[in-house]
Subunit: 191 residues, 4 copies
DNA sequence: CATGAATGAGCTTTCATTCAT
DNA sequence: GATGAATGAAAGCTCATTCAT
């Protein structure tokens, strides 16, 4: 039982931080930000309220960390990282990724939607989201332009509206939504 | 000098009630239900907090009155009232109506989205909304079936996701969204 | 249809006043003073809140008028008005009167008990009540003294405690309380 | 320096809880439940309003804890715990106990009376009180039956009315009430 | 590092009272 | 006289945040 090394301490801190964030995401997403209390989160995470403030300096910072983290994951998942060109196969793959995202990050997505509707809160994340949406729009516009679609921008707006609309409906009623069929249809129709 | 007649009282009540509801819709929509306080609403409506409760017996009743009223208007705007058959022209007209709705009731639409994300609150309105959505789904499914589309249900889900997605994006950034162009494209593509 | 005479106006005022007081007594007694609202009373009395304030300048004044009036009635019912001497028959009659009072003024009695327990409110009526209790005590003490009871004061305290205790129990559970039997026993035992 | 141990926390909680209950009993008893505000209690107890709700989840729970606690003490003080038979000495002792109770728990007794008069609140405690009153009635009825009194139930009602009536008067004016003399008289007369 | 008691601002709601008509 | 819309103070309660230990 030698004393813990600094690295071990850091790992403990990191793990705890992650566990708080996971718990908080769940609680925020379930109850809405305003209705979720720090007490609930702390209890569910198995720590004291005081300790929470050791990891996040306010409820708002906790939220914003969660959201920015989530957006970063989104960014990574969606980041094509391919220098400009998007083939048909790549676009198909891309859509698959979007749907994987919708499905895997359902909880996050729910929170994201609920925040989006509150300008007062949303302002915090708008900029970061733009960083994700912009390349997404650019790459699809390029794709449609190359494909010879009449108005690539509109086409691109259409498919992004579809992504959000589908995500919205799915998150709202995940059990009965035919997500896979919709995905296939989308690939048929929009690739 | 002479006391107010019942008719005068009724007018006062009606006007005030309307003004409270209008203000509240704005405040709820801007801040989310949970974040909007009765104080904010009262101040913005230029009345005392107490008076609110002369008109609505709770914050929840205020919300629910606003939402049900809005859904009723939606219902009237969208109610096809055509016994079963939907021609191409009618469907075009129908889409026009939906976009008119999105545009005119922007504030309400925003509130509607934000509530959808909070199951605890949403339960209050689910039933009424179903009455609107159900005939909408039915009529579009029928339309696509008659048109010979392979999977009418999926097609219908697709277009309803589009409506919500577009509404979502438009509400979010109404100045720059090319709503009319999108509408034209939608009619071209989905009618 | 000649215009109403001043006397008629006065009668209207008097009747209305009485009706407000009766209603208020009921409402106060049923709900307790603090839980009874002016709105409830006005509605139940069939008049507007504003008019209430035409008859009583505050809720407290309404209460105090009711209580003092009730105490006056008590006073009249119990006032022996017999110059000093109290025969056995008169004492029996007196006890009959007390029980009649308990029974007839059940509602008032309930209010009276509930107020008695709140020093802050009670102070208002203490003096008037003393005027009633004092001759009551005096006359019973005299009675017992003449009868040769060892300690007339104690005996008098005992019977007045009994009156209140019985009233208390009866008011609390009027259906099952054997008021008449208790009265007979009391006369047997204490006259 | 070192963090507080669970035992220390428990002591803090226990002490504070007791202090709040003591203060609240006084305030409720002095002003009546409805007229006593949490603010008053908190101020008198020297704590913030918020803290109250760390210890009792509502005003009603605070009241009900106090009353049930008091009734339990009553129960213990009065619980005969003697299997059926009640001798003359035991009955005397029993009356002594009742008077001790009236005297020691004056504040509680006052609250108890004031609550009794408000059916809406009283319902909460009725059942527990019945547990106390029932054996009390039973044991005295048995006693009087054995003694050969003509109507033991009436006799029992009489003495319980006396207990309440005396308590009532004593609580109302404790300084001048000859509680001991009354007690002696009661024992002479009713044992 | 960890705890949870404690605070205080702000929330929803109620209601006696006023007053323009 | 009569109405009820309107006010404002105060109630019960919640919760993010602080801090002594």
């Amino acid at each position: 039982m030698s004393p813990r090394t600094p690295k071990q301490f850091e790992k403990i801190r990191h793990d705890r931080r992650k566990s708080i964030m996971d718990t908080a995401l769940e609680v925020f997403s379930e109850n809405g930000y305003a209705n979720a209390s720090i007490s609930m989160i702390a209890k569910k995470a198995g720590i004291s309220k005081g300790l929470m403030y050791n990891y996040f300096k306010s409820k708002e910072e906790l939220l914003s960390t969660i959201v920015l983290d989530g957006l970063n994951e989104m960014f990574e998942l969606l980041d094509p990282n391919k220098d400009g060109v998007l083939t048909k196969e790549e676009f198909t793959y891309f859509i698959e990724e979007v749907f994987k995202l919708i499905n895997e990050k359902r909880t996050f997505y729910k929170l994201y939607f609920s925040l989006m509707m509150q300008p007062s809160v949303w302002k915090l994340f708008e900029a970061r989201l733009a960083e994700i949406i912009e390349p997404f729009m650019k790459i699809t516009i390029d794709y449609y332009a190359k494909k010879g679609v009449e108005n690539p921008l509109l086409e691109s707006l259409l498919i992004s509206a579809l992504f959000d609309g589908i995500g919205f409906h799915y998150v709202f009623n995940p059990e009965q939504y035919p997500l896979d069929d919709i995905k296939k249809l989308l690939i048929e129709r929009f690739v």
